[in-house]
Symmetry: C2
Subunit: 398 residues, 2 copies
């Protein structure tokens, strides 16, 4: 007899490696232990009041569908936003998406066939696995090493990985989870590769405003690969508006814009109120990012300095975003990250970290690494680092 089954792709969908420890954190909290959340990129910075007020004061009587490509005035406003960084696009190059997540999904669906391959330097943002699974696409990881500070792997690594099935390369710049900021030279290397093999370059620039050592060089600034480049953008991090779910799919490839618009039409529109928020945010005073960046920089310095002082811990200094990938003197961080929530506390405090293995496509890699998000206040980061030091000591003396 026939039976109800879930689909193969549903079975293949990875559970979030970041969220799978949540139940253990909840148990710790129920025991009265304070948990420092270094595991997830949810900033504690306030969403700019001016942007929130734009929603509060919007004169909306009927909360209508927006255009499937997003509100035109917002798309035009984003043109101004990019122009400030010497990125020249037309508003018709921009489709507003429901978060950067949807921009990524649209890229996978519109550019790649089931069975196609996409090359991604690992460690990489774990949700790329989910979108790849939804689209039936295979991820081919090439390894970036902690010893090199997670710089772009050499050209030979890309060339070795490219097959007839390869259709795209994904980079995240500055990088989640490593914080690595790709240089102009590295971006030009990528441009040469995608031009030579006629691949798409998906550039996830969610953290573009948070660069500490050097200037951000966008994939949209590369010349001669206008049809190859797609930037996936989002307001989640730059305005501390993760819950808004507003992103953008930006490409000068008109055929692709038209294709993606069909996917956009199927889901009708992105949320209206948060587009109002996004549009208002572009008009924030220029010093908004300065203040935010200065705060993150202090946090970064506190975290990285603190981590590298712990015996056996190695953590490269990230050039951007608000993540760091550290190597701990433990054998298995999946086990360690669960143990630290389940069985450890120091002065009634503990730390939640994201185990490194979830960010690697190659099985067995990242087992000694963890990702840390420095989205907490400096004093909290100091406490968290102290906890971590004690935890490593205790864990290794078990």
């Amino acid at each position: 007899m026939a039976t109800l089954t879930i689909s193969e792709r549903a079975q293949a969908m990875p559970a979030s490696p970041i969220r799978k420890l949540v139940p253990f954190a909840e148990i710790a909290k129920k025991k009265g232990v304070k948990v420092y959340h270094l595991n997830i990129g949810q900033p504690d910075i306030e969403t700019p009041k001016a942007a929130m007020d734009a929603v509060r004061n919007a004169d909306i009587k009927v909360l209508e569908y927006s255009h499937s490509a997003g509100i035109e005035s917002y798309r035009r406003k984003l043109v101004e936003y990019y122009k400030r960084d010497e990125i020249y696009v037309d508003y018709t190059d921009i489709l507003i998406t429901t978060g950067g997540s949807e921009a990524l999904l649209f890229g996978f669906l519109a550019c790649l066939n089931p069975g196609d391959e996409v090359i991604i330097p690992e460690p990489f943002y774990a949700n790329y696995n989910g979108f790849a699974t939804e689209a039936g696409v295979n991820i081919v990881p090439i390894t970036a090493n902690i010893e090199d500070g997670f710089a772009l792997p050499p050209v030979a690594s890309f060339e070795n990985a490219i097959t007839d099935k390869t259709k795209a390369i994904i980079i995240c710049n500055p990088n989640n989870p490593t914080g690595y900021l790709y240089s102009k030279e590295e971006m030009e290397i990528l441009a040469r590769i995608v031009k030579k093999h006629q691949l798409y370059l998906f550039s996830d620039e969610a953290y573009r405003e948070f660069c500490y050592t050097g200037k951000h060089y966008s994939a949209l600034q590369l010349e001669g690969v206008e049809d190859n480049v797609i930037v996936m953008d989002t307001i989640s991090k730059r305005y501390s508006a993760c819950g808004a779910r507003i992103g953008a799919f930006v490409t000068r490839n008109k055929e692709l814009v038209n294709a993606v618009l069909k996917f956009a039409q199927a889901r009708l529109a992105p949320p209206t109120l948060e587009q109002v928020l996004g549009e208002a945010a572009v008009d924030l005073p220029a010093d908004y990012f300065e203040a935010t960046k200065a705060e993150y920089l202090k946090r970064r310095d506190t975290l990285i300095e603190g981590l590298n002082k712990i015996p056996g811990v190695v953590c490269p200094n990230p050039g951007g975003a608000f993540y760091a990938m550290a190597k701990l003197p433990v054998d298995n961080t999946d086990d360690f990250c669960q143990w630290i929530l389940e069985h450890f506390s120091y002065e009634n405090q503990t730390v939640m970290l994201a185990p490194g293995s979830g960010f690697y496509g190659t099985k067995g890699l990242g087992m000694q690494e963890v990702r840390l998000a420095y989205v907490l206040k400096v004093e909290e980061i100091e406490q968290a680092v102290k906890c971590l030091e004690k935890a490593i000591e205790t864990y290794n003396n078990k």
Copy 2:
């Protein structure tokens, strides 16, 4: 040499049949012609102020990600909402989605493999085609006839269409585009079919609050098929909040909830502000729907009576939603609907309609039909019907 190409599924994605006439409407408007939009289900009813105020007054400092399954208090509030209609679910049976659209996409992705088939009575909501294409799923249409008022096709039609590849049946109740309200008996027939063949039953209940002749019987009220039934719901229509993009995926099938949660985690969360709106809307006074329904009922009666008075036009009286599917005395409504925008006006007014063919899966069907949404004021509907009558006369005397 390799070339950049868009994916096969992007090529296969249908353009929206409702939106493809938009450029012609824009040209008409630029000429100063008033266009009555009967083509799209964007209500003109105001979004309830109490729900909008809940967003305006929400004390949100950081617009954070919500839980991937949605805000727990909102999910619990929806349990109360359904209970009023004698639908008994637990909050863990409910996942909040980004519009009903995402609930549908999750259903396709989580229940069906590429190459699987889903049976849908036609005419059907055109965007099912888009979600099916995204998931690589084939739609098998079975025809509901205008002569029967678009009632559920006979069991034999389903039985003939079921193959080894069939995994699901989709119904929309009350129906978009026909307005047909399925009876309890028809729902029980569907239950027997999905039970016998162990299929999923996707029940799109976007218009559940708008029933004029008879009570809505939800698929969640069917007994013995608890694991088979998924209700796709949305606040878009019932609170005139299409731009909120808040829906729900509701099923008692725990394996499926867990599977869909992984898709939900990949895209992180639905929009936060509009969940606040949705939660507040559940607490609207009981007479809210009475007033809205009374208004739609007047509009329906005006439209259907008017249409059936036009020589050669046949339009069944729909029991729910705010759509009607009418047969016009013209050969090709794709052509007619473009012509009426491009070349016709009456007292400087014209009408935008959705051609019927876009709602059929079987090629060649619906060529004489159009879908009309009665989302305009009674006086506007009267004007629109007058325009339509004149247009048909002129078109057929060309």
